[in-house]
Amino acid sequence: MTDMQSQDDVFFVRQEMLAAAPPPTRVHGVWPWMRVNLFGSVGDTILTIVGVIVALWVVVPMIEWAFIHAVWNGSRDACAAQTDGACWAFVKANLGQYIYGRYPDPERWRVNLFFLLMAAGIVPLAIPAVPYKGFNLLYLYILFPLIAGFLLVGGVFGLPMVETPLWGGLFLTLVVSYVGMAMSLPMGIVLALGRRSKMPAVQVVCVFFIEFCRGVPLITVLFMAGILLPLFLPTGVNFDKLLRALLGLSFFAAAYMAEVVRGGLQAIPKGQFEGARSLGLGYWTMMRLIILPQAITIVIPGIVNTFIGLFKDTSLVYIISIFELLYTVRNSFSDPTWAASTVPTSGLVFAAVVFWIFCFGMSRYSKFTEDRLRVGYKR
């Protein structure tokens, strides 16, 4: 009897229904989104309010400065009168100089043609679906530099000679970064292979070079190229300052590129090397046909990141007085006909936007290849 009672205590059967629960809160729409993402808790709400204040405090004056109070046209007087707005008139007046440097006016079509030829090589290379990548590379490495060299320097085919000290602006920035990128990639590959080589002398030389370049600031390498290189060469032998800077920049970037490529080489499973060897391939054939295509593909994002770094670093040739974009812009501030307090800020913002567009574009491209590769490697 007592047993039955205790069983009654243990078992419980609900007799009535539960009260209906309220409908689920909406998860779509503006308000639910705000509740989740902006006002999740008390702390969150405070953060949001602080964030709004900060954003307004920064963004509103910026818009006012760049657009509402800005001087778009006119001369120095208009800019000097408007002290709380950008002086875009100054940028407009100097735009030709910012793009072409001191390249003579009647010859600027040559620079434009150079831009066009460059785009014609790089755009199809960047789009994965476009075929004939081999020919594309051939064009970018041999044909384009040859044409561009003759076109820009001149002195042949009836083109007047334009000395490199006259080059400048965005155009020179692009020349420097193109040469740096084109040179650093193959040099970096060779250095990376050397670093992974089993020959001790080769390995030591490559490690020394890579670690040396990565350990010192670019400025000192540029100084070395600019000041020491003429000392190292026989008396009387000298070459163009721009060319020396290009050499220094390429060596410097190659060291960084080598480390990126090495990462790719290390990611290739040992079986690939052994498989290639067992097929009877020699070292170079194995590298060319089996290893490098895989290794390079893996590290394309890393390569593009190195390119971004290189593009930003081109601004440093400024230090040895080569008129790339940033130096051209800074130099234009000393123009007495444009002496106004807003001029330096406007010029620098313009340069920043130009650099930003190129670098951001490249970083988006890097992201795009990363995503594309991840799809390819999904198992």
């Binding site: 993402n37 902006l38 999740g40 969150d44 953060l47 949001t48 964030g51 709004v52 900060v54 954003a55 089993k198 020959m199 001790p200 002398a201 080769v202 030389v205 670690e211 040396f212 990565r214 350990g215 010192v216 600031p217 670019l218 400025i219 000192t220 100084f223 070395m224 000041i227 020491l228 003429p230 000392l231 190292f232 060469l233 026989p234 008396t235 971004i308 930003k312 670093d313 081109t314 601004s315 440093l316 400024y318 230090i319 940033l326 800074r330 501030f333 307090s341 330096p344 800020t345 620098l348 913002v349 340069a351 920043a352 650099f355 930003w356 670098c359 951001f360 970083s363």
Partner: protein
């Protein structure tokens, strides 16, 4: 033996020039010869060139009188030697690097955590910050601070003033502490109290390991340090006064000054590098598995303990190596001081190089310093990395 085996495969493998060992030795000999050859060729040319220009090589010039003066943290004057000037530049590089590293780390940490926030607005602000700063050359950021931000501050005449602190386009002026006669007593008391606090901490930890009883060693230690140091300060007769900057019509004299060149350099480098550090912090925190947090919670650890004992040690393992290279990058980027005229090692070296023509020696000093620093920092970070590495059986 290997040669004999290869011989059985085919005749062509048997040729001496196809032997891998022979090839490897030949390649190495050629490479070494080429490197040595070009180095000696360069050296030979250099000697000839220097001789023709009448420049004596060697580091003897370091002892000569420089004849120029620069503003550095070390007091210099026009009769200082070249060597002393370079030393002053080196010190400036170290100071500006350390300051930039501090700013970049703090800002990077904040922005990196903000980037992980569940709050959309905070996350977006952090993302915009990172994407804008990462894609602009550091030199441009420095120039922007120098020519746009600091240059647009008010002139001395109508400078912003809070108490004895003044902000103008000539720099940031603040009172400088002047240490009295007995200040070393306070310093010693501070160090002693630190040692005592450390002892308390060690004792508390040992007791906790033994008995499981907790002890608020942090608060007690702080109290020991504050009370002891303050007591020593009062006992020594408060040996501290301030040199307050005095404003004249066109300038401000006395006190401490943060010059525009210095400020623009460390602010720009700090803010620029913070965008990279933020991404490193974010990836580090994201690399720690969610299960780790949940397991720590299940063990009964509290919020702060979970972060301190479980998440951060694992995140640091991912964060430290790239963070090291960012710190090295900051140090190398301080060489951009040349563009704004702050006297760091490279800028001073440039000043020394022009009158003396000792370009090789100056470049050698630069390279030795930066390479040495790289090696020291890498060794230190490798040690730290090994310390926090995964402890496996």
């Amino acid at each position: 033996m290997a040669v004999a085996d290869a011989g059985r495969l085919s005749a062509s493998r048997d040729r001496w020039y196809n032997n891998p060992l022979v090839r490897s030795i030949a390649v190495q000999i050629i490479l070494v010869a080429a490197v040595l050859g070009s180095v000696s060729w360069f050296a030979n040319n250099t000697v000839t060139n220097l001789h023709e220009r009448g420049i004596a090589s060697g580091f003897g010039f370091l002892g000569q009188r420089a004849g120029f003066d620069i503003v550095t943290f070390l007091p210099t004057n026009s009769s200082s030697t070249y060597g002393y000037m370079l030393l002053a530049g080196l010190l400036d590089t170290v100071v500006v690097s350390l300051l930039s590293i501090a700013i970049a780390t703090v800002m990077g940490l904040i922005v990196g955590i903000a980037r992980l926030s569940s709050n959309w607005l905070i996350r977006t602000i952090a993302t915009v910050y990172i994407e804008v700063l990462r894609n602009i050359p550091p030199l441009l950021v420095i120039l922007f601070f120098y020519l746009a931000v600091i240059a647009s501050l008010p002139a001395i005449r109508d400078a912003m003033q809070v108490g004895d602190f003044t902000l103008s386009n000539r720099g940031f002026f603040m009172p400088a502490p002047v240490f009295g006669a007995n200040f070393d007593i306070v310093l010693i008391a501070f160090l002693v109290s630190l040692a005592i606090a450390w002892g308390v901490r060690t004792w508390a930890f040992a007791r906790r390991m033994r008995t499981g009883q907790g002890f608020p060693s942090g608060w007690v230690g702080l109290a020991i340090v504050v009370v002891l140091t303050a007591a020593a300060f009062v006992a020594a007769g408060a040996p501290l006064s301030f040199d307050i900057p005095v404003k004249t019509r066109f300038n401000i004299n006395g006190g401490w000054t943060i010059a525009p060149e210095f400020a623009s350099l460390f602010l720009a480098l700090g803010i620029y590098t913070a965008s990279f550090i933020a991404e490193i912090v974010r990836s580090g925190v994201m690399a720690v598995n969610r299960g780790q947090t949940e397991a720590a919670r299940a063990l009964g650890l509290q919020g702060g303990q979970v972060l301190r004992l479980v998440v951060l040690p694992q995140a640091l393992r991912v964060i430290i190596p790239p963070l090291t290279s960012e710190y090295l990058n900051i140090t190398k980027n301080t060489s951009l001081a040349l563009a704004v005229g702050f006297a760091d090692l490279v800028a001073v070296g440039n000043n020394v190089l022009n009158p003396t023509g000792q370009s090789i020696e100056v470049v050698a000093v630069w390279m030795a310093f930066y390479l040495g620093l790289s090696i020291v920092i890498s060794v230190a970070m490798n040690w730290f990395n090994a310390r926090i590495a995964l402890k496996e059986r």
